[in-house]
């Protein structure tokens, strides 16, 4: 028994190593696709957008959230973003400031307008629901290439266009997923068409689909609507985007704690 305990992991490791050894192109190709997608969207500098989130439970009851988001593109490290809530009314004026990092935990602050308090919060809670929706915090944070490892699966048609289907595994152990299967549209700037999320038990949890794409600045593809369906609870959340602006002139100083307090 004891010998088995020692030998088994070694065998597994060897077989895994052999596997990796045998198919480097697959891993490489997956990473290449992710990098191409990142490159295709480089240079937006900054973005502002208004979001409407529509939550539906399995009985069809609807609840809405309104928020605005501004993002500053950074290349040497992850992007900075500031989200302000406008609805429901009791959280109006509440805002979050996030500094994404390519490696390590993101920095995050929360502003509570009722007591004018800025709180640094842990970004550990990646897998929890965002505002009671079917989106987890990690689904909405900046999708840096370094946050996953990649395996190319196959090419197939989606919505009549050629897609590269890639599995990506979160690097962070705190992620709520073992893996995600992502459809990259190879004909339209490697934009995302669909993601399947597999939970910690490797069961299909959610499917996210992207709709009503528009191209901005002749380069940047942005979906007008995203739909997240939870297969285990039959709840769904729709994200609607309005008034996309690019190259807005936002600066680093628009992402300070003072800006967080001022944000409306």
């Amino acid at each position: 028994m004891k010998i088995l305990k020692i030998i088994l992991p070694v065998l597994i490791f060897l077989s895994l190593a052999a596997n990796v050894e045998a198919q480097p192109p697959k891993d490489q190709r997956g990473l290449e696709v992710a990098k191409k997608a990142e490159k295709a969207d480089l240079g937006f500098e900054s973005t502002t957008v208004n979001l409407k989130m529509v939550l539906r439970n399995k009985n069809g009851q609807v609840s809405e959230r309104l928020m605005s988001n501004r993002i500053l593109e950074l290349t040497e490290d992850g992007d900075k973003s500031l989200i302000v809530f406008n609805s429901p009314r009791d959280v109006k004026g509440t805002a979050t400031l996030t500094f994404t990092h390519k490696e390590g935990a993101d920095d995050q602050w929360l502003y509570l307008p009722a007591i004018a308090r800025v709180k640094r919060i842990s970004s550990d809670n990646k897998s929890g629901p965002f505002m009671g929706s079917e989106f987890a915090y990690e689904d909405l944070s900046s999708q840096e290439v370094e946050k996953y490892t990649y395996t190319f699966l196959r090419e197939e048609k989606i919505n009549g266009l050629n897609a590269a289907v890639v599995e990506r595994d979160p690097v962070d152990e705190k992620s709520g997923y073992t893996r995600q299967v992502v459809w990259y549209n190879q004909e339209q700037g490697y934009r995302l068409e669909k993601i399947e999320f597999y939970d910690r038990k490797n069961a299909l949890l959610k499917t996210l689909t992207y709709h009503d794409y528009k191209q901005y600045e002749g380069k940047h593809w942005r979906a007008g609507r995203m739909l997240m369906v939870n297969h285990q609870t039959n709840k769904e959340t729709e994200l609607l985007f309005q008034d996309y602006q690019f190259k807005t002139g936002l600066k680093d100083s628009d992402f300070s704690q003072n800006s967080l307090k001022r944000a409306k």
């Binding site: 009314r89 550990d124 009671g132 100083s253 800006s259 409306k264």
Partner: protein, 401 residues
């Protein structure tokens, strides 16, 4: 007091109006207006110890908000009013929580008018938070504040944020009246409290703060000179009554938070000197969060904080050598259901304080909040002994328009 406050604010308001009319014509303006109405019912579990007190307190509060922004968002006018109607005449009160003009240029920010400022990191006490007077009749936890007239200049640099405050006018603390609970046996009239400063509430106060985020650390160092927001109670040996006055304070405050994974480590300390006493106080501890337990969305936070104040029994809040243990439950559901449960245990004396706060949203614009405070075995040596029979429960229904 209101008329004096108006004297203070009126010129700023006029200035802001002029600024608006001159610049708003050239650029787009953005306005927001909303009102929150809170209907409260407070129930005290025991009869009051003092004449005139009741057990049931229905109460109503109104909070209007107005926001105007122009010049590409670089200038704004912010207003928050407050009115409460209560059985206790002293708790029936009106306040301008905020009324200020703000101008922003790159990393600089200037605010003129009445404003609310919060400093600090701990949950059970707010030691370094010293700019605003506490609205003592409004809430027991001291988190509600009166608007503080000020000129506030802030500079966000690469090495942190530098804040400068000049505060020309002091807001007096109000205490409960004859019919109010949570009070001393003797009534404390707002205008009966003396000042160390000859200029009384017109003594100019100054404050400075540097704060910065460095990796896992968020740090702040603050300095305050001026009339202390907390009055001191001095026992007069001749009359055996309390002499109460506002001293002139020098205060240095340090607040520090470190974040390691799901752990938050917190430190707040102040050193305060005045003619009456030199004091040191500390609050610090941790908060650990188990997040998204079993993928249910539920977060359970555990909070432990130690509180020290070298004034011992003279510490008004009684937090001289105490332990706070608490838990925060957030269900992260559609209605944002949350609980905060806590207990404060005195390490030398028998006193214990328990609290439960719960909230849940209904629809898009309603919120239900329940607050319970229990005082148990309060020691005779504590200021809080006066309020030993004032355990209560409050139910609040808030509507946002």
């Amino acid at each position: 007091m209101t008329s004096q406050l108006f004297k203070q604010i009126a010129p700023l308001f006029l200035f802001a109006l002029v600024a608006i009319t001159t610049t708003a014509q050239e650029s787009k303006t953005y306005t927001e207006f909303d009102i929150e109405i809170k209907a409260d019912y407070r129930y005290f579990f025991k009869d009051g110890l003092y004449d005139g007190q009741h057990r049931q307190y229905p109460s109503l509060a109104i909070e209007p908000n107005y926001f105007l922004e122009w010049a590409d968002g670089n200038q704004s006018l912010n207003f928050t009013g407050f009115a409460r109607f209560d059985r206790d005449d002293n708790r029936t009160h009106f306040d301008i929580r905020e009324l200020y003009w703000q101008g922003v240029k790159n990393d600089w920010e200037l605010s003129l008018g009445a404003k609310k400022i919060f400093w600090g990191v701990t949950e059970s006490a707010h030691l370094v938070d010293i700019v605003n007077q506490t609205d003592f009749v409004e809430s027991f936890d001291g988190e509600q504040k009166l608007g503080q007239p000020m000129a506030h200049l802030s500079y966000a640099s690469d090495i942190g944020i530098f804040d400068f405050f000049a505060m020309p006018y002091f807001r007096k603390r109000a205490f409960p009246g004859q019919e109010g609970r949570l009070r001393t046996p003797f009534l404390i009239g707002k205008d009966e409290i003396g000042f160390e400063a000859d200029a009384e509430e017109w003594h100019p106060d100054f404050a400075f703060r540097w704060s910065n985020s460095m990796g896992i650390f968020d740090a702040g160092v603050s300095y305050f000179y001026g009339t202390g927001r907390e009055p001191v109670f001095e026992l007069n040996p001749e009359s055996s009554a309390f002499d109460i006055y506002y001293p002139l304070n020098n205060q240095i405050g340090i607040d520090l938070q470190a974040i390691t994974g799901a752990w938050l480590w917190k430190w707040e300390s102040i050193y305060r000197t005045n003619d009456f006493q030199n004091m040191f106080a500390f609050a610090g501890g941790f908060e650990y969060t188990f997040s998204n337990i079993k993928s249910s969305g539920l977060d359970i936070g555990l909070i432990g904080e130690y509180l020290f104040d070298n004034r011992d029994e003279l510490a008004l809040n009684g937090l001289d050598n105490d332990l706070f243990v608490g838990s925060r439950l957030a269900f992260n559901d559609v209605q944002s259901t949350e609980f905060l449960i806590g207990g404060i245990f005195d390490m030398d004396k028998s006193s214990k304080l328990f609290s439960v706060e719960a909230s849940r949203r209904f629809g898009n614009s309603w919120k239900l909040e329940i607050e319970t405070r229990l005082f148990s075995n309060i020691s005779e040596k504590e200021f809080l002994y006066f309020m030993r029979d004032d355990s209560f429960m409050q139910v609040r229904l808030a509507k946002f328009f």
